[in-house]
């Protein structure tokens, strides 16, 4: 899988929000996802397609319903290659400090 596609897919606030939605409730249809987004169903479909191409979203067909699942495997690859080896412990402490000072900012952008 092309890692450029993963970073490109993540480099957009709408697509990150879609992944957050799926993390909260995995296996949603486009219709269900569109309810949380301030855009047309067609625009949501296009964003989901990019996420699917990057393998960040996996599809399960249930009858005629297309269900979208957050696929964390490429995120794990990024984690191993660019995060884990850089002193996870101290990074965790820094993040905790930042969250305490700023409040939970995970899903603002």
């Amino acid at each position: 899988m092309d890692i450029d596609k993963v970073f490109k897919a993540l480099a957009d606030p709408t697509r990150r929000r879609l992944l957050d939605q799926l993390h909260r409730d995995n296996g949603q249809t486009v219709t269900a996802l569109s309810e949380h987004m301030d855009m047309t169903r067609q625009a949501v479909t296009q964003h989901l397609q990019l996420l699917e191409d990057a393998n960040l979203v996996a599809i399960v067909w249930q009858g005629r319903e297309k269900l979208h699942y957050l696929n964390p495997v490429p995120l794990h690859d990024i984690y191993v290659r660019w995060i884990e080896k850089f002193e996870r412990g101290r990074l965790g402490a820094l993040r905790t400090l930042k969250k305490k000072l700023e409040g939970d900012d995970d899903e603002k952008t």
């Binding site: 995995n26 249930q62 495997v73 794990h76």
Partner: protein
């Protein structure tokens, strides 16, 4: 049909036969079923015939069994379906969750491996949701480089 709880997809530059062997050959499972955080490795042991029992054993001397289940479907080298339970709940079918491995050729020497896990209780869900990405990432590295972890 119920919707699955989790779906994991990875693309691996290998053949369906090699993935199948990695799933069912005890000596091969040892090479990648490793959680560096827990510092432990596991092997999967079974004859992989439908109806047979399988065990997820630690590779320590005691061979402690952490997960057990039954083989539901075994279609080499395409699809393996097993149930998944704590050893203390092995006799209660209602407590078994279900894992399906689907292996499809994807062209360009790639295969697509999809792992679907359903009927999870919340505790087991928390346990596996960190675990599958690690196992799949290890499996990919092992099959593509031959390096064990």
């Amino acid at each position: 049909m119920k919707k699955p709880d989790y779906v994991y997809v990875t693309y691996i530059a290998t053949t369906p036969e090699k993935v199948w062997r990695a799933l069912v050959d005890t000596d091969v499972t040892r090479q990648y079923w490793v959680d560096p955080k827990a510092g432990s490795a596991h092997v999967n042991v079974s004859d992989w015939k439908p109806g047979s029992r399988w065990e997820h054993q630690r590779t320590d001397d005691a061979g402690t069994v952490d997960i057990v289940g039954k083989v539901v479907e075994s279609t080499p080298p395409r699809r393996l379906v097993i149930t998944w339970a704590r050893p203390s709940e092995a006799d209660d079918d209602a407590k078994h969750s279900r894992v399906a491995f689907d292996i499809e050729p994807y062209g360009d020497g790639l295969i697509r491996l999809t792992v679907t896990h359903d009927d999870l209780d919340p505790q087991m869900l928390a346990g596996i949701s960190g675990g599958w990405p690690i196992v799949l990432s290890n499996l990919k590295t092992f099959l593509e480089t031959g390096r064990s972890l």
